[in-house]
């Protein structure tokens, strides 16, 4: 290998600084959440304790965070499943030109770039003017889909741009019906990417704030609850909650990565032996 140019070391330093910039603040509140009972929102640490984590389990201190966590979790799963199914169907639809496909494509882009508060406001207005009660599982659910679906579809577009169509042709040549081609050829090949879509669907929903703001009704989701806390809670209990939900997000991400890794490993093991000679 040729020797590294000097720019490599400069850029490595830059990259490390960038990573510190990305993770530093989060790590700081991670440390500060173990603040002693008398400690404040910044250093110095006045002792080390689990005091603020214990506080999370007391209703008076923090309000209904466990209820909101449960709602956010369920909503995240609902959005995740819907995002995967609708994105795959949409991705398959967009492989061929159909009437109205370019309009639909621009709608997807609009859904991505529209200021979130417009979705919140518009959905809220429709619901209130038609006399329906806004609820996280109806209006909130739909409003979040306008944020997760564009990401799911962009991933699907990227996947199908790289998809080798000769696998499908081979399956058709062997007499597979269109449904069999999708079920036994296309879906297994794109499965790891679907895990990615699912991960986006869940985490984007779990952390979504602006589009849920006016559409979730009287039962808050977790981000709304946390935002409410920022205005009236001035103790490290905020950091403890932040640390806990961040750890939860990281565990979810890890879980998804693990599934992708296992899928890939299984695929490598059961892969084709074509060209490797007789066994």
């Amino acid at each position: 290998m040729e020797p590294r140019p000097r720019s490599f070391y400069v850029l490595t330093a830059f990259f490390i600084l960038f990573i510190i910039f990305l993770y530093g603040p989060t790590l700081t509140i991670g440390i500060l959440s173990f603040q002693g009972p008398g400690g404040g929102l910044t250093f110095p640490m006045r002792g080390v304790s689990m005091h603020w984590f214990r506080d999370l389990f007391e209703q008076q201190a923090v309000g209904d965070i466990w209820g909101s966590f449960r709602r956010s979790f369920v909503l995240g799963l609902m959005v995740m499943v819907t995002t995967v199914i609708v994105s795959v169907m949409g991705g398959l639809a967009f492989r061929k030109r159909f009437k109205g496909s370019s309009i639909l494509f621009y709608l997807i882009i609009t859904s991505l770039v529209i200021p979130s508060i417009l979705v919140s406001l518009g959905v809220g207005l429709i619901w209130s003017q038609s006399g329906l009660p806004v609820h996280w599982a109806s209006s909130g659910f739909g409003a979040q889909l306008t944020w997760t679906l564009p990401f799911g579809l962009l991933i699907m577009f990227a996947v199908f741009n790289r998809f080798d169509r000769s696998y499908e042709e081979a399956a058709r040549d062997l007499g597979a019906s269109p449904w069999q081609v999708v079920r036994h050829v296309v879906l297994p090949i794109i499965a790891p990417s679907l895990i990615g879509v699912a991960l986006f669907g869940f985490t984007l929903s779990y952390d979504e704030f602006a589009r849920t703001l006016l559409t979730s009704g009287s039962y808050n989701t977790l981000p709304l609850e946390i935002f409410g806390m920022t205005t009236n809670v001035t103790t490290p209990v905020l950091f403890a909650l932040g640390t806990l939900t961040t750890v939860f997000s990281l565990l979810i991400i890890l879980l998804f990565l693990l599934v992708v890794w296992l899928l890939n490993r299984r695929r490598a093991r059961q892969g084709s032996d074509a060209g490797k000679g007789m066994i």
Binding site: A93, L104, G122, F239, S249
Partner: protein, 283 residues
């Protein structure tokens, strides 16, 4: 051929339904309500231009729109510089694919955690008695705490950069990974210096990625209200905040009028950017 179209429609039906109910209809509703009237506690259907007239004749509107564009422009420049550098490093200086993926994931993970928590996490850094101030003071750089670190335009931009640089890194990295490495070798063989290769080969080929990143960042910053509210301690305003204020006062018609103008601004900006890039081809 007809059959194809029908299957296409069936497959696209759920997507179209969601977008119709939760995107198109809400926009239509906002446009309609922007012509309505409001009393202090209720809104009533009407067809009047009062909301727009009030909005377009008040210089607060122009100041706030200018402020919003200022945030977008500054954030765009900084995220582009950082995002490009990071993507360049990952694409051209990291030699094994495994490491590229690992470091890329490292950059992506924060995007999947809560934005609000990531904003909160700046408090211990930037506060009056925060880490930045106490470090600078103990180093003797400053004598008293800097007041402009938290709750200022500085902290707003810092948070934007922190939250959205990723939107630049991902598409630029994606485009760079598709650049044929033999082009770089050819440039070197033809006697180009590293800078010349960067300027005449890599940057032109990376333009689609830069455009996509720009679209993401500009859209996010233009439509934001929560970062500005939280990081400026309600001392700065952007259009999103203006809308949110009106909503808080139950002035939905005037919030809607502002929202319509914001939407037009954003769509014009993004529409212009889209002319320079074919998103679907570049993914």
């Amino acid at each position: 051929m007809r059959n194809n179209s029908v299957i296409g429609w069936l497959l696209a039906a759920p997507l179209s339904l969601v977008l119709l109910v939760f995107l198109v209809a809400p926009i239509a509703m906002i446009v309609v309500v922007s012509f309505w009237g409001a009393t202090e506690w209720s809104i009533y259907p009407a067809f009047q231009f009062d909301n727009y007239e009030f909005l377009l004749t008040s210089d607060v509107t122009y100041r706030v729109f200018f402020n919003t564009l200022k945030y977008a422009a500054i954030t765009w420049v900084i995220t582009l510089l950082i995002g490009f550098t990071v993507a360049y490093y990952l694409a051209f200086h990291i030699r094994s694919l495994t490491w590229q993926i690992a470091l890329f994931l490292l950059c992506t993970i924060p995007f999947l955690t809560s934005n609000i928590i990531r904003m909160i996490s700046w408090i211990p850094f930037l506060g009056r008695n925060g880490i930045a101030n106490s470090t600078l003071m103990s180093m003797g750089v400053i004598d008293e705490p800097l007041e402009w670190l938290l709750f200022s335009d500085f902290s707003v931009i810092l948070a934007f950069v922190h939250l959205y640089t990723l939107f630049m890194v991902v598409p630029i990295f994606n485009t760079m990974m598709r650049i044929d490495k033999s082009l770089i070798e050819a440039a070197a063989d033809a006697g180009a210096t590293g800078w010349q290769t960067l300027w005449h080969v890599i940057i032109p080929l990376t333009k689609p990625g830069i455009m996509i990143g720009t679209i993401f960042v500009v859209a996010q910053v233009m439509g934001d209200f929560i970062t500005v509210r939280f990081m400026s301690g309600s001392q700065s305003a952007n259009v999103g905040r203006m809308i949110q204020n009106d909503i808080g006062l139950l002035q939905y018609p005037s919030a809607s009028a502002t929202a319509v103008i914001l939407l037009i601004t954003v769509l014009l900006l993004i529409g212009t950017l889209l002319r320079f890039v074919d998103i679907r081809r570049e993914l």
